[in-house]
Subunit: 351 residues, 2 copies
């Protein structure tokens, strides 16, 4: 089985998701700025995977820091954290992971009494924390799978959008983790994968990893999802999330809102699977979630081919927000939240 | 200005829509089987344009017929009509145009007393009828524009799906004809064009012809339409049609159903612009409209690039059906029909 991302002695190693499915290429980054660029350029993507990458980027940056005293080390930390934080604005896991690394940094610094001689300990603590975030993420996804498997139909087609699988996480996946768990329980599921323009995470990544797992998968263009729902073949929809506000409003890959509206219109349950680290209780509603606008060239160009006339502009919001009223349930590692989400999500954190 | 299709002494000439926008290439076909293949392979597409192409294909076939008597000429006609009728099942204009050519054929045959010496008259009558269908189509689109322009907002963004423009017709367009007419009346419209996967008629064709007309156009991926509607920027949606049942249910390019549901959910009017030749009163509802399923390779391959892993299947329904309850009005050359469409559409034919 492939590894989405791992910490190695040589650096942070990840599968290049811009090259899948035609090429399975691994990159090893030895500089935190390369990790930041990998996040920005979608070599690695998916909210939980971005969190792991950011944590490893921090550990990598501090590993190679030439700081001679605490002030220099702190300055390096801030520069590293800032560079990584500026890569992508929507997925909150990025900021959550950097915060965990910052807490670890402070703890380690005080335990070594802020002495340069103890900086090795700080480095070790950060490397360990980054690897813990990775290991936890897999365990969290497996727990999500256990909670969510029951919600899947016993047989039939489940539709998903984008890639919320092993490639979007440290492994196993959020939405695809629930599907994997349901299949492992003996449910006879097929997956319809929205191709997910413009970056084609569904056609390229979801199809690739499900085919590897021998879970039947069929690719459809995004504009077919509603048609198949209306025809009656889709038993459930499940997607991941990039950020969930306190009221349950969910930012996820552009197109998720449309899928949710179409599911509701056709009486099909619409599930979101995401770890607690994706839930941002500091935001009251989805209106406050920053939506990344990426370059229009990512819409109008594909593999060097122009899809639109030269000079015609394109828009490229990378995410949209699905209001909570379209969401049947949010599946987390702590259990399943249902409306009213303001209460149920908060209860999961308390529980 | 370009011509989508025209009758020339050399044969049927059309712009190759598979090559736009990167290349503006014209093809001249001298054999009706080439015209059939051009329809099948989407060199020409769009319900009204397919109708014109089929009519010209019939005229071309009979022009080159070596029939020596009426029986042979009739046999040739049937073979030609059958070949053209088998190209694409959904757009009813194809069958409507073939029927008009058949009526013309019978009329011309009887007026020349079924004598081989009069076959030149039959040929001339068919050529004239095909050219009349073309000229009528432009006039019809202009009338549709006059009826529909009032329904467009005075300013703001109008969203369209696929290409229902000059390229989908003999000229001017159905949905884009209404937009052109509204702009000509001084309305300050911008168009958001869904790229319309998999064939990208929106990104390639709608963007190309609107840019030529200097009507501001922005390309979006299909999965962004709902997001922009929800954000409040879209004033109206207007699309064409491939076949409209007696109750108003409308078959149009895959993804139209989703756009219609999203428009209704967001309180945005959803208009269909189509000539009476697209309305099939013989079908009570949209459930009876045959939906063409095209090859999965058109979904998984683009310009020679694989978008999905080898061996993963894809579905490719080329059209979907929008139930009439999502349609605010159907704009025709005879006027605007509103619910209940069973009455209003029939009244347009009677009027």
């Amino acid at each position: 089985m492939f590894k989405t991302i791992e910490w190695t002695n040589d650096g942070v190693r990840m599968i290049d998701q811009t090259k899948l499915p035609s090429e399975e290429i691994y990159r090893t980054y030895t500089d935190y700025r390369e990790v930041a660029e990998a996040i920005r350029s979608l070599v690695i993507r998916g909210a939980p995977a971005i969190g792991v990458a950011a944590a490893m980027g921090v550990a990598l940056g501090i590993k190679h820091s030439a700081a001679r005293d605490e002030a220099e080390l702190r300055a390096d930390f801030e520069k590293i954290a800032d560079t990584l934080a500026r890569t992508r604005p929507t997925a909150v896991n990025l900021f959550w992971a950097i915060k965990r690394m910052r807490d670890t940094f402070e703890r380690a610094l005080s335990s070594c009494q802020h002495e340069p001689s103890g900086f090795g300990k700080v480095r070790a603590a950060l490397e360990k924390e980054a690897q813990r975030i990775l290991a936890e993420d897999i365990a969290i996804n497996e727990a999500m799978g256990r909670h969510g498997a029951d919600l899947m139909p016993d047989a039939g087609i489940v539709l998903t959008h984008c890639n919320a699988g092993a490639l979007a996480t440290a492994g196993y996946g959020t939405a695809l983790g629930v599907i994997r768990a349901a299949v492992a329980c003996g449910k006879k599921l097929q997956v319809f994968a929205d191709e997910t323009r413009p970056f084609l995470q569904g056609a390229r990544l979801t199809a690739w990893e499900l085919a590897k797992d021998q879970i039947p998968v069929t690719v459809i263009t995004d504009n077919m999802a509603g048609h198949f729902m209306h025809q009656g073949g889709i038993g459930a929809v499940i997607v991941g999330a990039d950020r969930i506000a306190a009221n349950g409003d969910t930012a996820n890959k552009i197109g998720t809102y449309s899928v949710a509206v179409l599911a509701k219109e056709n009486g099909i349950p619409f599930y979101v699977a995401a770890p607690l680290s994706t839930i941002d209780l500091s935001l009251a509603s989805g209106e406050q979630i920053p939506i990344e606008e990426r370059s229009s060239a990512e819409v109008t160009q594909l593999a060097g081919v122009s899809l639109a006339p030269a000079g015609v502009p394109a828009r490229h919001p990378a995410f949209d927000v699905t209001p909570q009223r379209y969401i049947s349930a949010i599946i987390t590692e702590k259990g399943v939240a249902r409306a009213p989400f303001s209460d149920s999500l908060r209860a999961l954190f308390a529980g």
